[in-house]
Symmetry: D2
Subunit: 342 residues, 4 copies
Amino acid sequence: MIIVMSREATSEQIENVKDRLVKEGFNIHLSKGVVRTIIGAIGDKKRIPSLALEAMPGVERVVPILQPYKLASREFKDEPSIIKVRNVEIGGENIHVIAGPCAVESREQLLEAAHKVKEAGATLLRGGAFKPRTSPYTFQGLGEEGLKLLALAGEETGLPIVTEVMDIQSLPVVYEYTDVFQIGARNMQNFNLLKKVGETDKPVLLKRGPSATIEEWLLAAEYIMSSGNHQVILCERGIRTFEQFTRNTLDLSAVCAAKMLSHLPVVVDPSHGTGKWQLVPPMSRAAIAAGADGLLVEVHPNPSEALSDGPQSLTPENFSILMNELSRIAPVLGRKMAVAHE
Amino acid sequence: MIIVMSREATSEQIENVKDRLVKEGFNIHLSKGVVRTIIGAIGDKKRIPSLALEAMPGVERVVPILQPYKLASREFKDEPSIIKVRNVEIGGENIHVIAGPCAVESREQLLEAAHKVKEAGATLLRGGAFKPRTSPYTFQGLGEEGLKLLALAGEETGLPIVTEVMDIQSLPVVYEYTDVFQIGARNMQNFNLLKKVGETDKPVLLKRGPSATIEEWLLAAEYIMSSGNHQVILCERGIRTFEQFTRNTLDLSAVCAAKMLSHLPVVVDPSHGTGKWQLVPPMSRAAIAAGADGLLVEVHPNPSEALSDGPQSLTPENFSILMNELSRIAPVLGRKMAVAHE
Amino acid sequence: MIIVMSREATSEQIENVKDRLVKEGFNIHLSKGVVRTIIGAIGDKKRIPSLALEAMPGVERVVPILQPYKLASREFKDEPSIIKVRNVEIGGENIHVIAGPCAVESREQLLEAAHKVKEAGATLLRGGAFKPRTSPYTFQGLGEEGLKLLALAGEETGLPIVTEVMDIQSLPVVYEYTDVFQIGARNMQNFNLLKKVGETDKPVLLKRGPSATIEEWLLAAEYIMSSGNHQVILCERGIRTFEQFTRNTLDLSAVCAAKMLSHLPVVVDPSHGTGKWQLVPPMSRAAIAAGADGLLVEVHPNPSEALSDGPQSLTPENFSILMNELSRIAPVLGRKMAVAHE
Amino acid sequence: MIIVMSREATSEQIENVKDRLVKEGFNIHLSKGVVRTIIGAIGDKKRIPSLALEAMPGVERVVPILQPYKLASREFKDEPSIIKVRNVEIGGENIHVIAGPCAVESREQLLEAAHKVKEAGATLLRGGAFKPRTSPYTFQGLGEEGLKLLALAGEETGLPIVTEVMDIQSLPVVYEYTDVFQIGARNMQNFNLLKKVGETDKPVLLKRGPSATIEEWLLAAEYIMSSGNHQVILCERGIRTFEQFTRNTLDLSAVCAAKMLSHLPVVVDPSHGTGKWQLVPPMSRAAIAAGADGLLVEVHPNPSEALSDGPQSLTPENFSILMNELSRIAPVLGRKMAVAHE
């Protein structure tokens, strides 16, 4: 890291910073410019965040040089990680589409959605049993009943299940039914929850928080990985910006960036990312073209009756048109659409 | 609410929307403009979010008219709410300053900080025992040991305690020791946690999320209140913007806005709001001038040795200078600085 | 538009608003809810912005229903507009790539770049003669000398020229040499400049401002069109967000949105949009997949010697690899890459 | 500056970067960490922006150490600058309030506003003759006629005039009538305009752009100062964020930050900063408490008849109440409200 001393810094203050760094086991090198002194420090990057150097007299600012995450970085593991979910492999040549309704509403709704997305080519089934909702007065999900329906739909279709775990309390029950834990955007920095899913043996789909930098996103993955579970799938789902026409601003450059910085697979959620079903097909195509390893798409048999996120859900018909488009695009990008195993 | 039909909407589609609304118990009125038809609907606003009208064919957009929160609104309760914490009243004429270290680090550190902030005029003591940290490799707090030290410091100084509860699991133990539950910015939309603290009988200090709108912030308060606990104190702590000189952008207009829209008291955290101790005094003065009911200020006996947030912590000396300034400003604003009772 | 009266609004205040609207020629309809009164007003949308209704006593807020732009809207013109630049047509089946160096630096640099991008398949040549630079101490462009070099390169390669006009003063000289006026992101709301290019007979490439909403972007186009020049090409080049890994956040959903709301063609600038040459190819592919009508790509014979934006410039080799990829992607999207005419 | 080489950088690539820097006259020092090599370079900071080092093979990123502005910095001039406008001094002990209507609409409107704000204690008169408006269909200002009315009002009241100059073309005519050039937020990076006002002998009030960082704002001031005119007054007027309740998010910490980094005076525009007249008084108080040297406040004799920005304009009555509040606050902050000279 680089410590920039203020131009008024006394030589005593400079000494204090040097001593502090040496005490912490850093190798330092000093460079005196015309205007100010700069101290370079080389040592254990994990130690850096706990040093409050910026609070030392005479210090103007501290510039970190290395990325603060380790296990999630390309420096730790160069080749892309492939995450296995039952018979499915995410992060390889195959592109996987995880589809289903935003919320599990009923046996009929879920089974219809599950069979339709399976037919269209989805290889994993998504659906929410526990729903984080902005307003306390809206549908909060069916809870365990919803999980049971997901398991049933999984059996009937043979599709692995992806569903959200909202807190540590419900983790054991979600564990019973799901194949992949989804960590929602609002929980990306729910650190205790990250640690707990990090202690399980099931893959985790980690959504990027609406105002999380790519670095913070990878640090959230680091929480899971440093707890022992390296099966992390990153999911870009849009960030919050000043633009209001779309629900969020889907940041596809974050897909490329995350794959540059990390070995973890990255999927994209164009449904939450745009909030408008009309934008889901073009942004799905764009996500694949940008290099995403898969998609998370909301599909509802009857969006206008949906209890949650209807406006951003595709009908089964539109979903199957989209899947056809993707199957034409994938090959020219050197990828293939995954095929569900029976 | 207002439903704007697209210009291609067929009269059948318009009928469908009307029928749907009537079925849901709304009174509707139609108005046909030159370009498009608009449907006004009056009914139970709590029902609105669950209608996926935007997903109905022919609907261009839906414009909500009423605020989606109720208990937190001025319409529900016009006069300002006063939240009692032991012998302290937040939201009245008195301005309260909640001060202490970011994290409880040791008996010595906390007791020194507690006595110093008490002397300077703080009326509540803050300190973190469970710390949400961006990196898994940084100090995560002392846990229950930290809570015990807080309780001890509270006894010694007579100051009520404000400390963060990070999850439902640790809620019971935090309940044992604290006077006020702090909900951190990252947990503002941890809805199950909000419901749980809403089932307790202790006041809740609810920080605004870094990318939460004022409306979402009040909806988070609504989660707590609709669970039975109306003792909510709002806390503005800065939002995330493109500006990088400051850690966050402290949104003081949100203080005025929240007090316009809601009857709940609002305090400001200039430490996290700016991330730089040099900006804490001027922004503290500004917060009071904007109408805040109090402040949450980080004070550390030795910021450069702090295990967390040293750069934004005031020394006890600077804190007491700030308190003197505030005591001169409060009266000209028709407020008084609260005095700690023995 | 909808006027929402505050719940304390007196019937006299409601009458005043009604009278004001009627006086302005609006048809109004009143609807009294349990909580508040709402006034719907139908009339000339162009008149709306000049009414300061929100300043009238008793008015809580005003909700516009119609888009404030007209000529740029799909309602005004349903089929996509095709903008002709010499022998080139932008907005049709063909995808056009506008390529060249950020800044014109020298005869050699520009001619080499021009011939290389032509060979690789670019159909228009870009290059800056007048450069808006954040710092006054950086290269500000060659001015008219640069324009002459552009014209020369245009002649030699047969490629039409796209170059930025920074102000009204230099408009006449830029007009002499360019085929398309580029309006830079920082000038998107330089309204007098917009009016002036709107009085010319040359196409205008209008970049979206770094903090401009899609609506403001289309209103900027409306300034040009309402001055008489309907030849506007929209260009998404990234918006400013909290994310710092990329120079801007390239908002590809804005491409889809702009094409939904407007008949104007939309191109994408992945160079400024990401600020990193490594991200230019994947985001270029993504832009085309999202439905963009073309790209604006920075190519420099020797990026590390570039006087401006080297880090985001492709080498001719990487550019030609990208063009090959695009020529495979376009057909599966039902488009073709344009071919330069001799 | 610090150049961070990527971990795959070859020693040849490292040599190339070193040679390049030495050739440009920088003193360099190398430091080889376990993971990567870092090159520190000390030299003329003005040269740095034109080096495209990030485009050199093997370079991961470049970290600037010094601020890129010079004349505007505290390092260049330590004591606060005082800008003289006729008999008024901005930046000293006295707090100045610049008040008047958003747009000059008529002789009556302006003169009434001018006399009222003078009575209430404003020491400069503001008013727009050339209005940048988001929509081409809204009132664009009276132009020179408006300037004449401003001059008249200035004579009658003895108040110096502050009005916006929108482009180089109208600069000469604005020069004839105004005492201070206002550069609007949208023009903060209209660099040629900045250079031109930098060649005049009149003070410039430079508004911060809606998405400009504090550094970019100071670099815009640097454009004016490096052209010879050091009479720059900075004006914070709110930045664009995701929050929609307020028109912009007024960033008062930017006032403190700008005064830390620069010697230039800083005033605040709470009218545009909030967009709601109800928020203007509390945010005006807050601005002064944060250390602002003055305010820019919109006052209209009849806001609901205003042709521009009525919703954020104060009535003369509310303005004079605000001025009274400020006159009580200023002294406790060690400032005084300026008094207009006859």
